[in-house]
């Protein structure tokens, strides 16, 4: 694992497009997305259908036919992700770029113990004995603040809570030691307090290991408070890019509209602003 040089971004995306051919015409899910990412936490926010999840999947080349991905540049740590073959891609997936999905109930194997699944993730990418993998797994479960790692190691996914399952997922994704973590709505299925705990674990691990994080979410407040930088997607394009702390001062009418549509605890009873969509938002913009 080479250390990326400081002047080169961890991930560079230019002109990323994802199209899905369908009997009623081609759906342009992502229409020319550009961004780069260092060892920082970047949030991608948008409503359903904005292309945020497809963007995350396209980086890992997880778009299957009839989906088609094209990009002028899709470069991870100096590696051209569009140019390498599937075998080379497999050595990157998991080992160097990992992905956490929304719901642990559907992304964990229901007929395999939690511990074995995490150990498997380690063994696939490391030449180690089962014993070593087990001790690394227990260590990782401790790192995601599971109090009783021995019990959770031998438990099946249905025997642990949602928050515990998502911590196990994060442990599984981080055990090979990736440089980039893509988290697609990792806490949307969790209660707010559990969400906070899981995020603080991600926060600590990402910071301690100097990783990059792409945090995909529909929750503007959460992204604004958790990430360093925010990309706002609409209709397959990034319509706004800003520092997370400055999201409240967003300039694009779509971002402003989303913020105004949120009910707030301290401002009750008023009529909520309803988003008026402007077809011009779908056009490529020069603002960025």
């Amino acid at each position: 694992m080479s250390a990326p040089s400081p002047d080169r971004p961890l991930l560079a995306v230019e002109g990323l497009r994802v199209d899905f051919a369908s009997p009623v015409g081609t759906i342009h899910a992502v229409r020319g997305v550009n961004f780069s990412l260092g060892r920082e936490k970047v949030g991608i926010v948008g409503e359903s259908g904005s292309g945020k999840s497809v963007t995350g999947r396209a980086i890992l080349r997880l778009i299957a036919a009839p989906g088609a991905v094209s990009a002028q540049r899709l470069e991870f740590d100096g590696i051209d992700l569009m140019g390498i073959d599937e075998r080379a891609m497999r050595s990157i997936r998991g080992a160097r770029i990992a992905m956490v999905m929304q719901d642990p109930k559907f992304s964990l194997n229901p007929v395999m113990t939690v511990g074995r699944q995490i150990a498997e993730a380690y063994l696939v990418h490391h030449d180690a004995t089962r014993g070593e993998a087990r001790s690394r797994t227990l260590e990782m479960l401790r790192a995601v603040r599971i109090r009783d790692p021995e019990r959770v190691f031998d438990a099946y996914p249905h025997e642990v809570s949602g928050g515990m399952g998502q911590r196990a997922m994060i442990a599984m994704m981080l055990i090979p030691g990736p440089d980039l973590l893509i988290a697609d709505e990792p806490t949307s299925a969790l209660d707010v307090t559990v969400q906070m705990q899981v995020l603080s674990i991600v926060d600590d691990l990402v910071t301690a290991r100097g990783m990059g994080l792409i945090f995909i979410s529909h929750d503007l407040n959460l992204v604004a408070s958790f990430c360093d930088r925010v990309l706002v997607m609409y209709g397959g394009r990034i319509v706004e890019e800003c520092r997370a702390s400055e999201l409240r001062a967003a300039r694009h009418p779509y971002t402003q509209g989303l913020l105004a549509a949120l009910p707030r605890i301290d401002d009750a009873g008023r009529e909520l602003a309803v988003l008026q969509r402007d077809p011009a938002w779908l056009e490529p913009s020069e603002r960025l």
């Binding site: 949602g162 209660d191 707010v192 959460l222 009910p263 605890i265 301290d266 009750a268 909520l272």
Partner: protein
Amino acid sequence: MIEVEDLSVTFGRHTSVVRAVRQATFRVGEGESFGLVGESGSGKSTVLRAVAGLIENWSGAITVAGRQQGRRRDRAFYKRVQMVFQDPYGSLHPRHTVDRILVEPVAIHRLDTADRRIERALADVGLGSRFRYRYPHQLSGGQRQRIAIARALILEPRVLLLDEPTSSLDVSVQAEILNLLQRLRRERGLTYLLVTHNLAIVAHMCERVAVMNAGRIVEALDVGVLRSENPTHPYTRQLLQASKGYDRETARGLVDFADA
């Protein structure tokens, strides 16, 4: 309008008894909007389902519009009390047109002028008559939830039971549905019992709120107290803090109240 006293609900039996609701007591005045908030497993939806008559295994007393309710509810109850469910993808019959979905309650209650009622219900929820012969799959999530609200309103009920009515919708669509519910309540003096996990929605929609944790109502308060961020119970304070977004310090200080 709604009085719930010492409501307890248990599921399962023998060794695996889950006490989903434990001695919940609250009352909702006529024309009031009352919120039930809590995290998953707190029992908030179970309370709502017991009030709606969808659960039989409860004890305590439920009184709606002055009538004490038994295990089974008569037709008159459902004329007065209707429910809107969380997921408009699951609560509308996929092979029934909007027309058929809306005509069913009218037929069950043997009301006349079905045609006029349907037209009016569609207009009330901001959908024109052009939606009348569509199937649910031809509608967006927000439009489906409007149909679910229209189905509840077509009987001209006095009480709406709302179970997370916007949690499966995008924020821009959520704003439209919340505005619609606010307007309908204003115009018709409806009584709402709203279940949600979202404190901002409760603060927006309700006058009073009961906070639930592990089957118990830990605190009932005016939303003004919530708004001024001054609730007395530590669980409510923690929930309020956690709803404001991510904060490393808050995350460290979280306490598990489940066994308290």
